[in-house]
């Protein structure tokens, strides 16, 4: 039972990072209908940018301040990268077939991956000096690494910020309108191009923070970008165009992955932890093709 509780709690905390990245993915899909396969590379870029900024700032600042400033800097860089990516590559693909758009995001992922390795090399890099202490924290009888706890807190805060942005601000409302019915939104004066750009910028920011947090947990290397594929089971579980679905799905997949690693690894040695979400996804799709809260598409001839 102890092990189970332990796995579930760390799963929830890891899952909150997945949820944050999935949120960015869902925003892009909802607003512009682009299935983004480059999410993993966006995460990786964010992590490396934050690492670079942190290493610069930490020379003349206390550790915690440097990290917070580096995180904010990452989000600013993400904002501009998102706007640029949308403007240069995705804007021209509006109205093209779905597969062509997917392949453009695949091309983007090759491009970004190459660029990251050119600039930062392929070796694993860690945030030094450590930002979070190695001392674990005992929480309700469960020991949790403090980096997990802080990641959980940060992911939660950001999710609240993004969701309230989406719900209560003018820009957020225009994004909602565009996601709901693009034609109607356009006729009411919402600029679709602006909404697309905003969606990409938010996705880049969310992915950047997710990458930073993951980099703090395991160190930064190529494996961070596997998160970009893990996002897919998350959004399938929650429903493609549902923001609460992305959050619930992220946490569920986090728990599931941890449980699979904890229990199944003994019976199926080697990579079951990475594969379990995908197996779960295939089985889930057979029974509930639109996820928990996805829109069911009604088709007519």
């Amino acid at each position: 039972m102890d092990l189970f509780l332990q796995l579930v709690v760390t799963g929830v905390m890891l899952g909150s990072i997945f949820a944050l990245v999935a949120l960015g993915w869902v925003l892009i899909y909802k607003c512009s209908g682009v299935l983004n396969l480059a999410m993993g590379e966006l995460t990786m870029i964010g992590g490396y940018v934050c690492l670079g900024l942190y290493q610069k700032f930490v020379t003349f600042m206390p550790v915690n301040t440097a990290f917070v400033i580096a995180l904010i800097g990452t989000m600013v860089v993400g904002l501009f990268l998102g706007l640029l990516t949308e403007r240069i590559f995705l804007r021209k693909m509006i109205g093209e077939p779905i597969l062509a758009v997917i392949m453009v995001t695949v091309g983007l992922s090759f491009f970004f991956k190459g660029m990251v390795f050119i600039i930062w090399d392929t070796d694993t890099q860690v945030f030094l000096p450590r930002i979070f202490s190695i001392e674990p924290i005992v929480l309700l009888g469960v020991t949790v690494g403090s980096v997990y706890l802080w990641s959980f807190v940060a992911a939660l805060v950001l999710m609240v910020v993004f969701v309230s942005f989406f719900k209560f601000t003018r820009w957020g409302l225009s994004m909602q309108a565009c996601a709901d019915d693009e034609m109607a939104a356009l006729s009411l004066g919402v600029s679709a191009k602006f909404v697309y750009a905003l969606a990409w910028a938010i996705a880049f920011m969310a992915a950047g923070v997710g990458g930073t947090l993951l980099g703090n947990i395991n160190g930064l290397n190529y494996s961070v970008s596997s998160l970009g594929l893990l996002v897919l089971p998350v959004v399938v579980f929650g429903g493609l165009n549902s923001i609460p679905g992305a959050i619930v799905g992220g946490i569920t997949i986090g728990i599931l992955q941890n449980l699979a690693g904890g229990y199944l690894d003994f019976y199926f040695p080697g990579g079951i932890k990475e594969i379990a979400p995908f197996i779960f996804m295939v089985i889930f799709l057979l029974f509930k093709p639109y996820g928990l809260w996805g829109w069911e598409r009604i088709e007519r001839v």
């Binding site: 093209e96 062509a100 392949m103 091309g107 390795f117 996804m281 295939v282």
Partner: protein
């Protein structure tokens, strides 16, 4: 493709449905066949590997084209089925104690190719089953899951451990025999690949102009309408997965004869994406598009590789202090490839076969072409 020059009439349906309908097309195709089979004598032998790589990509992309271009089922996990084919063939050749007369007659490898086709086809149908319920994005997910379940888990963790040789199975030279011929040099590999490609293309072309192909195209265009017209959509979708998997299995079984070994790195997810990229570059829904796309991708790769070698040699001799560039240059190559795909899709969304079609139309009416302005 669909029009005829002036003055050409057919008096029977048989003549109208022929593959090569006019003398000009016949002459062109025979000329192309001659080129294909004379190629090893026309070019330097180190370039042959480029051509059989093109043939391999054509074989693998045939199935993707069938699923994406003709049946509307998007797949992003085709490398898994190619891997199943490759491993089946390699393991049949290596581990089954064949009677000596079969080994001497060179029957082992051909039999293993057929078996590889069927195994890959069954594996493909297994992952095509969700297509009965889901489509579009969700089907992309399940085919991607096929890739993740097959290559990193089943093949790397379990199948590769058979025989205790670690990660890759190597096939000693001389083991791969077809009848009296041992496949051991580039020329033979090239001929073998060319024959396989021609056979598979004939099969696919014939399927597409039969009832089956028309059903697939109906499903692609509108599956609900196809269902109301009485097309059994689940059956035909699964048949499409079966045939595509069969082609993939043959591609995998061929590729082991060129590599002389088989290991999981040759079936990474990258290749699944690459094959979809090939059909997008070549043109979705056209068989010749596969050839154009494969040639484009392989030649781009080759050129990038050559320029990378040239640049790193140049840097090493002229600016030794810039040696770090040579370690990073492979990533420049990757980035350049990504950009090439993106800009191709942005500026040439209909693919190369559309350009070819325009070119043909232009010369058909030349010199009095109608520009439409």
């Amino acid at each position: 493709m669909s029009y005829l020059p002036c003055g050409q009439y057919f008096e029977s349906y048989f003549a109208d449905q022929k593959w090569w309908r006019t003398p000009f097309i016949k002459a062109k195709m025979i000329f192309m066949l001659v080129i294909v089979f004379a190629l090893p004598h026309l070019i330097a032998s180190e370039w042959l590997s480029v051509f059989y790589t093109i043939n391999y990509y054509i074989l693998a992309a045939l199935g993707v084209q069938l699923l994406v271009g003709y049946c509307g089922q998007i797949t992003l996990g085709h490398a898994a089925f190619v891997a199943v084919g490759g491993y089946t063939s390699a393991m049949m050749v290596l581990f089954i104690p064949w009677p000596t007369f079969m080994v001497d007659a060179g029957l082992v490898y051909p039999i293993s190719i057929i078996c590889a086709g069927f195994t890959a086809a069954i594996w493909s149908v297994l992952f095509g089953l969700p297509s009965a319920r889901v489509k579009g994005f969700y089907l992309i997910m399940t085919t991607m899951a096929a890739q993740w379940i097959t290559v990193p888990l089943v093949i790397t963790q379990y199948v590769s451990q058979i025989g205790g040789r670690g990660q890759s199975f190597s096939l000693p030279p001389g083991l791969i025999k077809i009848g009296p011929w041992t496949i051991d040099d580039d020329t033979k590999i090239y001929y073998f690949s060319a024959i396989l490609v021609l056979m598979c293309m004939v099969v696919m072309g014939n399927l597409l102009r039969s009832k089956i192909g028309r059903a697939w195209i109906a499903i692609r265009d509108n599956d609900i309408a196809a269902e109301t017209m009485g097309v059994n959509i689940v059956g035909y979708k699964l048949l499409a997965f079966f045939v595509a998997g069969f082609f993939a299995g043959i591609a995998g079984a061929f590729w082991i004869s060129a590599l002389f070994f088989v290991s999981p790195e040759h079936y990474e997810w990258f290749y699944s994406l690459l094959w979809v990229g090939i059909i997008l570059i070549g043109g979705v829904g056209s068989i010749q598009g596969i050839v154009f796309g494969s040639a484009f991708v392989v030649i781009i790769f080759k050129l990038l590789e050559m320029s990378v070698m040239g640049v790193s040699d140049f840097v090493m001799t002229s600016y030794p202090e810039l040696g770090w560039i040579t370690t990073k240059i492979i990533f420049f190559k990757e980035s350049a490839f990504g950009l090439a795909i993106i800009f191709f899709l942005i500026y040439e969304p209909n693919g190369l076969s559309y350009r070819y079609w325009q070119l043909k139309n232009y010369f058909n009416l030349w010199p009095f072409s109608y520009t439409g302005k």
